[in-house]
């Protein structure tokens, strides 16, 4: 084994635009400190001022994000766009599924999400059906039946008595 294989030094982190964005956010938040914190009252000492904590933290974030942006390593470009778009679409699907819990209940929302995510992941046909149904069944059995996790009663299961009975398990 070569000595290189034992090296603990990681490749230099990239993320120039990420750190520039973080520095910008930190700068804006620092400018808002007067509005977003209130001064202490009763003269209990400067060290108790509520703004001390955010001031130190945001200063650290601003200074080191700026420096990190300046000294950032080269970014990788392989498959970045596809991965980024996929992450964004999955995030939107995730939030959509959470929103659907109040309408369709936990089990059906998870089914919608697994079908959506499995399709995006490249599963098609019978494999898509197996993956989404299998995962949904596993989640419902684990969270609803084994752990007894409570979820708000969904709109769908309030529409008919027989649906209410099914809703207890989904």
């Amino acid at each position: 084994m070569s000595q290189d294989a034992l090296s603990t030094t990681e490749p230099r982190p990239a993320g120039r635009w990420l750190f520039a964005g973080l520095a910008l956010v930190a700068g804006v938040l620092l400018l808002m400190i007067g509005r977003q914190t209130q001064p202490g009252f009763g003269n209990t000492g400067w060290w108790n001022e509520p703004r001390n904590g955010p001031l130190v933290a945001l200063s650290l974030l601003f200074v080191f994000s700026t420096l990190a942006a300046i000294f950032a390593g080269p970014a990788r470009h392989d498959r970045m766009d596809r991965e980024s778009v996929l992450a964004l679409v999955l995030s939107a699907g995730f939030l959509g599924a959470v929103w659907l819990i109040g309408i369709l209940g936990y089990g059906l929302s998870v089914l919608c999400f697994t079908v959506f995510a499995a399709f995006l992941a490249g599963f098609r046909g019978r494999r898509l059906a197996w993956v989404s149904l299998g995962l949904t069944l596993a989640m419902v059995l684990l969270f609803r039946e084994a752990l007894g996790l409570w979820f708000p009663r969904a709109w769908l299961f309030q529409q008919a008595p027989w649906l209410t009975a099914i809703g207890r398990y989904l």
Binding site: M1, L6, T8, E10, P11, R12, P13, A14, G15, L18, F19, L22, L29, M32, Q36, T37, Q38, G40, F41, T44, G45, W47, N48, P50, R51, G53, P54, A57, L58, L60, V63, F64, S65, L67, A68, R76, R82, E83, L86, A87, L88, F94, L95, A97, V98, W99, Y106, V110, F113, A117, A118, A121, G122, F123, V131, M139, F143, L147, W150, F151
Partner: protein, 491 residues
């Protein structure tokens, strides 16, 4: 003797034993699946442990933590793919041994070494934590504030070559910890007029987003992780328990590195393995065999990384200061149950501590028993499709974030942190400082206020108290060393 009886009394209950076995089994399986890791599993399970008594919750999470390090050796040895990041060095000698037709020997050596490292570090925890806690009774708020600050500096400087991004991430974590109602006056900070931020940014959303969801996005975007099939396993996993005894020096040295690095905040398994492996090779009579199937290589790697989990609990239990991300997550379990880790823990919750020690000790026996019986079947999980794992992780994250408070805002935050984690992972930016900033921020702020309140605002309290002054000096030395190291590297 009384302590031992109390410990047995705590552990000898069905829920604790179930947590012990379930956590260990889950940890082994998670560790054996390349692409996942104990961080993801603990992040997912964290919200569900809040409803459990602390001993059961911590036992479950520690089972995952310890089990994953054992399980990570399985794909490392059988298919040359580390199950967890800390199994990388096990591939150097484990896989060549498999190629030479000795997978059982390699796995057996890995299990025996892990067992030695794991039990050794529990014994160190049993002796070191009360000593450190007794010492901690003598220390004041200024010292604890400096200890928290030192932990932060160690975490930043441990990321060699990435100190600037690590410091920025620490700042981000510290800022997140300040959001919500603050402690001195009860006034809101950075809540933007909303009510849902008054209780602060939920830790669950941060952890699940940064560690579970970001990893899931990458898994789903992968090609499915087509890996080589593991070789057929036969019986005979006991030989390593005799063979490791031929290398007592390597065992003890590696365990020592694991314990030492585990106790130090921010250092952890990677450096422990690095030092253990390098030293084992230097001390070996056959250094030329390293990387080609040397038993000492497997022993060094596995002993050192499995000695870390229990040792990492020493600063958490004794000082209330977590040294790395997984113990930081566990601090949340203590906090939810109003159990304050630190010097008073041993006096007020002695039975809990005794039970925890015993469950950690037994955990190693349970894990080895599971591995000896089930390695053949556990090895099958290495064939799981990464994309399917990613979807499963997102489903777990959905249940975890939503069921914590039943608020869609928590899920929005988790998604936000998931996307941030995704961007950070791709840019190779360390995320651990964010969690430590979130967890250590309130400790640092509260202790600093207390110290300065006692001193009437006199900042010299941090240099006039001996312990605080020493910690401050260490901190400055670390910063200067890191700064000059960086300048030297640029030249």
């Amino acid at each position: 003797m009384d302590t031992l009886l109390v410990a047995f009394d705590q552990v000898a209950s069905l829920p604790v034993l179930v947590a012990l076995v379930a956590g260990s089994l889950l940890g082994i399986i998670i560790g054996a699946i390349p692409g996942l890791g104990p961080g993801v599993a603990i992040a997912i399970l964290l919200p569900f442990t809040f409803g459990l008594p602390p001993l059961i919750g911590i036992t479950l999470l520690m089972g995952i933590y310890a089990g994953a390090w054992y399980g990570g050796a399985i794909p490392a040895i059988l298919i040359n793919t580390p199950g967890t990041g800390v199994s990388v060095m096990t591939t150097y000698d484990g896989y060549p041994m498999t190629q030479a037709g000795q997978p059982q020997r390699a796995l057996s050596l890995a299990y025996a070494s892990s067992f030695f490292g794991g039990t050794f570090s529990v014994l160190v925890l049993i002796f070191a934590a009360p000593l450190l806690a007794a010492l901690a009774r003598q220390i004041g708020s200024a010292d604890l504030a400096m200890a928290a600050a030192l932990a932060m500096v160690l975490v930043v400087t441990a990321h060699r070559g990435a100190e600037l991004p690590a410091a920025a991430m620490l700042g981000l974590g510290l800022f997140l910890s300040t959001v919500g109602l603050e402690g001195a006056y009860g006034t809101p900070r950075y809540t933007f007029g909303t009510t849902w931020l008054l209780a602060g940014v939920p830790l669950i959303a941060i952890i699940l987003g940064l560690f579970a969801m970001s990893q899931a996005f990458l898994l789903i975007a992968s090609d499915g992780g087509q890996r080589a099939a593991a070789p057929e396993m036969r019986a005979g996993l006991f030989s390593g328990f005799v063979e490791v005894l031929r290398y007592p020096g390597t065992l003890l040295r590696s365990a020592g590195f694991g314990v030492g690095m585990g106790i130090l905040p921010g250092v952890g398994e990677f450096l422990a393995q690095f030092f253990a492996y390098s030293t084992a090779r230097s001390a070996s009579r056959t250094p030329e065999l390293f990387g080609k199937g040397a038993p000492e290589g497997i022993i060094a790697s596995e002993t050192s990384n499995n000695a870390v989990p229990a040792a990492a609990l020493v600063p958490l239990l004794a000082l209330g200061i977590p040294g790395e991300v997984l113990t930081a997550m566990m601090l949340a379990v203590f906090t939810v149950h109003n159990v304050d880790p630190g010097p008073s823990l041993f006096a007020e919750h002695g039975d809990f501590v005794a039970g925890l020690y015993l469950s950690l000790f037994l955990m190693n026996f349970v894990i080895v028993a599971i591995l000896l019986v089930g390695t053949r079947w556990i090895a099958l999980v290495t064939r799981l499709d990464d994309r399917m794992l990613g979807i499963a992780v997102l489903c777990f994250a959905m249940a975890g974030t939503y069921s914590a408070n039943y608020r869609i805002t928590d899920c929005v935050l988790a998604v936000g942190f998931g996307l941030l984690g995704f961007a950070l992972r791709r840019a190779r930016v360390p995320m651990v400082p964010i969690i430590l900033g979130v967890v250590l921020g309130p400790i640092l702020e509260a202790r600093t206020r207390q110290a300065l309140g006692t001193a009437g605002g006199d900042l010299t309290i941090f240099v006039t108290r001996p312990i605080s002054a020493i910690l401050l000096a260490v901190m400055l030395a670390l910063i200067l060393n890191s700064l000059f190291g960086r300048l030297r590297a640029r030249r």
